[in-house]
């Protein structure tokens, strides 16, 4: 371990703001990239499923 205490770790030798800002932003970028795709994928698949079901039902009605 490169730090003597937890307070030392947070302070980052006086560069705490710069270091923690960078690491926080990195978390944000990674999570955002994953979450954005996941959410739009789920939403789009739900939309597609509804569309396909409606279409199938319409076909079933027109055949009967």
């Amino acid at each position: 371990m490169s730090f003597d205490s937890f307070a030392d770790f947070i302070a980052m030798g006086g560069h705490g703001f710069y270091v923690w800002f960078s690491y926080g932003a990195s978390m944000l970028v990674v999570v955002a990239n994953v979450v954005v795709v996941r959410r739009s994928r789920l939403r789009y698949i739900r939309e597609l499923t509804d569309m396909a079901r409606r279409q199938r039902n319409a076909e079933a009605v027109s055949h009967s």
Binding site: M1, S2, F3, F9, M12, G13, G14, H15, Y18, V19, F21, S22, Y23, A25, S26, V29, V30, A32, N33, V34, V36, V37, R38, S40, R41, Y44, I45, L48, T49, A52, R53, Q55, R56
Partner: protein, 249 residues
């Protein structure tokens, strides 16, 4: 499978959709393990730099993002060539889906660069060769995004974006060699293919893990965006309908 059949199959979004799913999990898990290990190691255990003290730890997030931002652009450049020469459908989807990831990584590299520059150079921003060429990279990503929105006909948009992606490739060697020009404050490359790193292993190993991790993340993210794009563009086809109705999309 011969190379030629692989080449033809890559032209088929349906085939690609079917084989790509497990790779998202493999790359995603690898990315998670590598990034967590590299980040904790770099943040907590790597020894302090004698000159930059603890602000050098920004390197562990800044360098991988800057590298993958350029690599993502190179992927688009190759996709642009594939589209212009072979009219490969999948190539245009790659071109469209790399943009948000590449753009976010470029913004991140520029922002962490500024945050690292302040304690190290004494300024948030300097107009030197490396920072300026990275800013040009960001504008290229903006341009590719805007161009696609601006052209209504999909084939025309695809060709225009491909041309811009290929022409913009000229910026990549400029970024790469900008730190070797005279007019720069930016430090030299952390890793090169020909020489051992100028850092001790306990300092560069976490960086190497984060670099590998971010490339795995890029792979997983590109695949999942591509699969969504495939569903969007093949919406009217029977195979997408069957897939959706079977609940295995």
């Amino acid at each position: 499978m011969t190379l030629k059949t692989l080449w033809h199959r890559l032209g088929s979004p349906r085939w690609f959709y079917q084989i790509s799913r497990p790779w998202i999990y493999v790359l995603g898990i690898l990315a998670l393990v590598l990034l967590v290990t590299g980040t904790v190691w770099g943040l907590v255990f790597a020894p302090m730099d004698y000159q930059q003290h603890d602000s050098f730890r920004i390197m562990y997030v800044h360098v991988p993002a800057a590298m993958v931002a350029q690599s993502a652009y190179i992927v688009m450049g190759f996709a642009g060539v594939l589209l212009l020469v072979w009219r490969m459908k999948l190539a245009d989807m790659v071109l469209a889906t790399v943009v948000p990831f590449g753009m976010s990584m470029t913004v991140f590299a520029l922002v962490t660069g500024a945050v690292w520059g302040k304690p190290t150079w004494g300024a948030w921003w300097v107009w030197d060769a490396r920072t300026t060429s990275m800013l040009v990279l960001l504008f290229l990503y903006f341009g590719l995004y805007a161009l696609r929105q601006a052209i209504a006909r999909p084939e025309a948009a695809a060709r225009a974006c491909a041309v811009l992606a290929v022409v913009g490739m000229i910026n990549i060697p400029i970024i790469k060699y900008s730190v070797n020009f005279a007019l720069t404050l930016h430090q030299k490359a952390s890793f090169t293919l020909t020489e051992a790193p100028s850092m001790p292993p306990e300092m560069w190993l976490p960086l190497a893990l984060n670099v590998l991790g971010v490339y795995c993340l890029f792979g997983a993210n590109l695949l999942s965006r591509l699969r969504l794009e495939i569903l969007r563009r093949e919406r009217g086809t029977q195979w997408v309908r069957d897939l959706v109705l079977s609940g295995s999309a």
